[in-house]
């Protein structure tokens, strides 16, 4: 069981101070973090760096109002002053917090047989040097390689006025290979990463080699890519990381705060069919070692597996304490924050489209002309309209049911609910991404992961440069 950073008695005093002017709820979030990063470029250690952080965020909630203050020391006088700053939002008689009782979160969420904190700088240099050498040796057209290895240990202790007193100790790891390939005047970029909430064991030779080879393959592939076709056409998304589509097109719109305020395109649609019957969407904090895994969220709530859409029907939102309390919903463990400096919000963990029954090859064969997307770089969504966009980092034409020429410069755009109604086939090759990304909302970034099977969407608008060929399924 992780030891608390701040003892229960001190937390109890802070909660009492926070509720001095009344309020429905208060919590104290104590965070100690350390991170290490190594950047290797041009076969050299470019920089080795480390970060140490410590802070305490104190929140007071009264009705729909939240007061928040934080400080960066554990001195009790400063902490009490911080609690009183947060309390300024309320104006009533004092509320008494429940006596804190230490509880334990679910075990086994983080893979950490071999903690990264025990891995010295020399050993890290060995890992990145090997990947860098491998990338240069892989193809003579590789002109620049950068490899980085970063890890973080985040310890949190959360005390709340309902008696919650929990601690969590979360590892996070990422190994990234970024390569440029050159061929005459053309230059293209490819990258890949591996990581998760795991230790050194995640960085076995096979995983590092796969990541390195993938970055090189993508950069070199793009040297021969043609400009992407433009216009509306059928799109087949490959398994794993293309789940960015689900994250943006569906995920954000199902965060409870947007729905409580009625500003999401999914607001007020609980129980309705909002997608094709082939679509089941889940937000899962329970995949061991995954980048989106959590034992406890940042409000001390055990993180579970939350079904959002079941066979096309909207069945759940992702909740934080505030939205759950105001709407009478059950907690889901989605209350997350970037750090002690931030107010928690409903956030995703690992969000995916569930697997289907089709043979992926059949799905591709069913498309006469269209786009096959193997990897997406990133995307964003306007949660009110539901309009999303993505950048395709590895894409191909589909011609007469076959994947043919690689394309570059493709952007996918569409409307989330509309795209989900157009899901026509889902494959039996469901997978989550080997690492995932960082999800940004209201200025806060949190690690998250994605997944999906091979999926056919009957029509999406593709942005590219080539026009004049109409595409039909």
């Amino acid at each position: 069981m992780p030891a608390p950073i701040l003892d229960a008695a001190t937390c109890q005093r802070l909660l009492s101070a926070a509720l001095e002017r009344g309020g429905d709820f208060a919590d104290v979030f104590v965070e100690r973090s350390s991170s290490r990063s190594l950047v290797f470029e041009e076969r050299k250690v470019k920089s080795a760096s480390e970060h140490r952080g410590l802070g305490v965020g104190i929140r007071v909630v009264t009705g729909e109002r939240t007061g928040y203050a934080y400080c960066e020391e554990l001195d009790e006088k400063t902490l009490l002053a911080t609690a009183r700053r947060a309390a300024a939002i309320a104006s009533g008689a004092p509320t008494t917090p429940v006596q804190l009782t230490e509880r334990v979160g679910p075990a086994g969420r983080y893979g950490r047989q071999w903690p990264m904190a025990e891995v010295g700088v020399d050993e890290r240099i060995g890992l990145v040097r090997r990947a860098c050498d491998r990338a240069y040796a892989k193809d003579p057209r590789i002109s620049w390689v950068s490899v980085s290895l970063g890890d973080q240990e985040q310890q949190v202790t959360i005390a709340a006025s309902d008696g919650t007193f929990v601690s969590d100790h979360r590892p996070l790891l990422r190994f990234t290979v970024s390569a440029f390939a050159g061929d005459g005047a053309r230059r293209e970029h490819g990258s890949d990463n591996v990581g998760g909430r795991a230790g050194r064991e995640r960085l076995d030779e096979a995983a590092l080699d796969r990541t390195t080879d993938e970055a090189v393959r993508r950069a070199v592939l793009l040297l021969t890519a043609e400009e992407s076709p433009a216009g509306e056409m059928p799109v087949v998304l490959g398994p794993g990381g293309c789940g960015v589509l689900i994250h943006e097109a569906v995920g954000h719109g199902l965060e409870a705060d947007f729905n409580r305020k009625g500003v999401s395109c999914f607001s007020g649609r609980m129980g309705e069919m909002v997608a094709s019957p082939l679509v089941s969407v889940i937000d899962d904090g329970t995949i061991p070692g995954d980048r989106g895994a959590l034992a406890l969220d940042d409000e001390g709530v055990p993180a579970g597996r939350t079904v959002l859409i079941e066979r096309g029907k909207l069945v759940g939102y992702m909740q934080d304490r505030l939205s759950a309390r105001l709407t009478g919903a059950a907690l889901t463990g989605n209350g997350r924050r970037e750090s002690y400096a931030h107010v928690p919000m409903p956030r995703m963990r690992c969000t995916y489209l569930a697997g289907g029954d089709d043979d992926p090859a059949d799905i591709i064969r069913s498309v006469k002309r269209g786009l096959y997307v193997a990897a997406i770089g990133g995307g964003s969504v306007d949660i009110t309209k539901g309009d999303f966009n993505f950048t395709v980092t590895e894409g191909y034409r589909i011609e007469d049911g076959r994947i043919t020429a690689p394309v570059r410069g493709a952007t996918l755009i569409g409307n989330g609910p509309e795209a989900m109604r157009r899901v026509e086939r889902t494959g039996r090759d469901w997978a989550v991404s080997a690492d995932g990304g960082t999800c940004g909302k209201d200025g806060q970034g949190v690690p998250a992961n994605l997944g999906m099977p091979t999926t056919l969407i009957s029509a999406l608008v593709v942005g590219g440069l080539k026009t004049g060929e109409r595409a039909n399924a």
């Binding site: 928040y68 305020k261 500003v263 950048t391 026009t467």
Partner: protein
């Protein structure tokens, strides 16, 4: 603004000496004792934020935060760095020692290290970065303004049904920068702003509209009326939208969107990308990269402007530069490393651009629309589809479809694509729109060479 620059600081005689200076002193003396060169930058920020919805306060947050960064250069300019928020003397000493230890793991690199001392210092003149009225601003003062702006936005059109989130924020920061070469500077700055986001609904379709204002000075903010009305107008402007036809089209980038193109040029000209070969501009210095009418300036010395600074992030003295002059790329934007690596003059760009602007032309908005003829007005870009290595530019857009110089219908769920190699020379007219408050400011641009993706 409090800025000081001394080549040989004498802390004992300095009345403004406080925790920031103390941390810088300890960091520098620890680095020297460890036998390494290095930089200490230490800052403090006092800030608050209020969120408002439906005329009532939703969230209030406040904090005073500190940040410390220590970079050490061991023999051969091997680099190590550490960051933390603890300014306690023992913690600063430990952090500086650790940075020196980490530097020992680095590889020698002749281009790394402190900037040349002659390049360091503070640009003269009063940049007016600091507004005492902002530093003293009580959050209750700005809340009624935000609530009024929200009310004006909600009342703008009956289709506007809800406030999404409105708010205000305020920050005062101060930082000290010191090197083992004896360079030292201290400067502060303020920023304040508020924004409104409202949601409209009609025929089962939701749209949102947002608008914001921010400035270093309280008196620089736009009125509640201006912000509220613009957010309201934007919330309903796209109703009745249709997808445009797919194909090549002339595009008019409204100045709100044109800044994205300008930002892409600055990123493509960054020294770090040039020596990595990660930009299509890597071999274009002195070459024509844009239409002859295009001149782009980065000026860190504009009083009160948001991006103004007396020196860059490495202590290199700020200066005004022309990035593009008459369509020719006249410089790359470099930090000390890139300057040495590319044998390029210093430009003071550690930390990126300051106040980047494209020099306005003469065409009024109506003239631009008339010259557009048939094509697309882009008012907003979505997503990040720019690949600077190849110059490929492909983004989602919203805006208006124009035929024969008249707006026919709004547009969304569309894309525009092209390559910067052709798009920048394709700029055929530049608007005379006034500059705005942002750090990247472009007038409206009429451009040939885009491909529109729609139906």
């Amino acid at each position: 603004m409090t800025v000081r620059y001394t080549s040989h600081p004498d802390p004992a005689n300095d009345p403004g000496h406080d925790a920031l200076d103390r941390a810088a002193d300890i960091g520098i003396s620890t680095l020297r004792a460890a036998g390494v060169a290095g930089v200490v930058s230490v800052g403090r920020s006092d800030h608050w934020q209020v969120k408002v919805r439906g005329g009532a306060i939703e969230t209030v947050s406040s904090a005073i935060t500190r940040g410390l960064r220590i970079t050490a250069y061991a023999a051969g300019n091997r680099c190590g760095s550490c960051t933390a928020s603890d300014l306690d003397p023992a913690a600063v000493t430990a952090l500086a020692r650790r940075a020196a230890e980490l530097a020992a793991y680095g590889d020698a690199d002749p281009c790394a290290g402190l900037p040349d001392a002659g390049e360091c210092g503070l640009a003269g003149g009063d940049l007016q970065l600091d507004d005492p009225a902002v530093a003293a601003l009580d959050r209750d003062t700005l809340v009624p303004t935000v609530i009024a702006a929200e009310r004006i936005a909600l009342a703008h059109d009956p289709r506007i049904i809800a406030s999404h989130r409105s708010g205000a924020s305020c920050r005062r920061g101060e930082s000290v920068f010191a090197t083992t070469d004896g360079v030292r500077s201290r400067h502060g700055g303020t920023s304040v702003g508020f924004h409104v986001i409202v949601v409209a609904e009609a025929n089962g379709e939701k749209q949102h509209g947002w608008y914001a204002t921010s400035d270093r000075f309280l008196t620089g903010l736009k009125s509640a009326e201006a912000v509220g009305r613009e957010a309201g107008r934007r919330a309903v402007q796209l109703y009745g939208w249709k997808a445009p036809p797919t194909g090549p089209a002339r595009v008019l980038l409204h100045r709100e969107a044109a800044g994205e193109l300008l930002g892409a040029i600055a990123h493509a000209a960054s020294g770090g990308r040039v020596y990595r070969g990660a930009t299509y501009l890597h071999d274009q210095l002195g070459q024509a990269i844009a239409a002859e009418s295009v001149t782009i300036v980065d000026d860190p010395l504009i009083p009160r402007a948001q991006g103004s600074r007396p020196c860059d992030g490495e202590g290199v003295r700020s200066r005004r530069i022309n990035l593009v002059e008459g369509g020719r790329l006249t410089t790359f934007l470099v930090d000390a490393y890139a300057a040495r690596r590319l044998k390029h003059p210093y430009t003071g760009h550690s930390g990126g651009i300051a106040n980047l602007s494209l020099v306005p032309g003469v065409a009024g908005w109506d003239e631009l629309v008339a010259e557009l003829g048939t094509g697309l007005i882009v008012t907003e870009f979505h997503g990040n589809g720019v690949d600077l290595a190849s110059g490929s530019f492909s983004k989602g857009v919203s805006g208006f479809w124009v035929e024969h110089g008249r707006v026919v219908h709004p547009v969304q769920e569309a894309t525009v694509g092209g390559n910067l190699r052709q798009l920048l020379p394709g700029i055929r007219a530049i608007g005379n729109d006034p500059e705005d408050q942002t750090t990247v400011s472009s007038p409206s641009l009429l451009i040939d060479g885009f491909t529109v993706g729609g139906k």
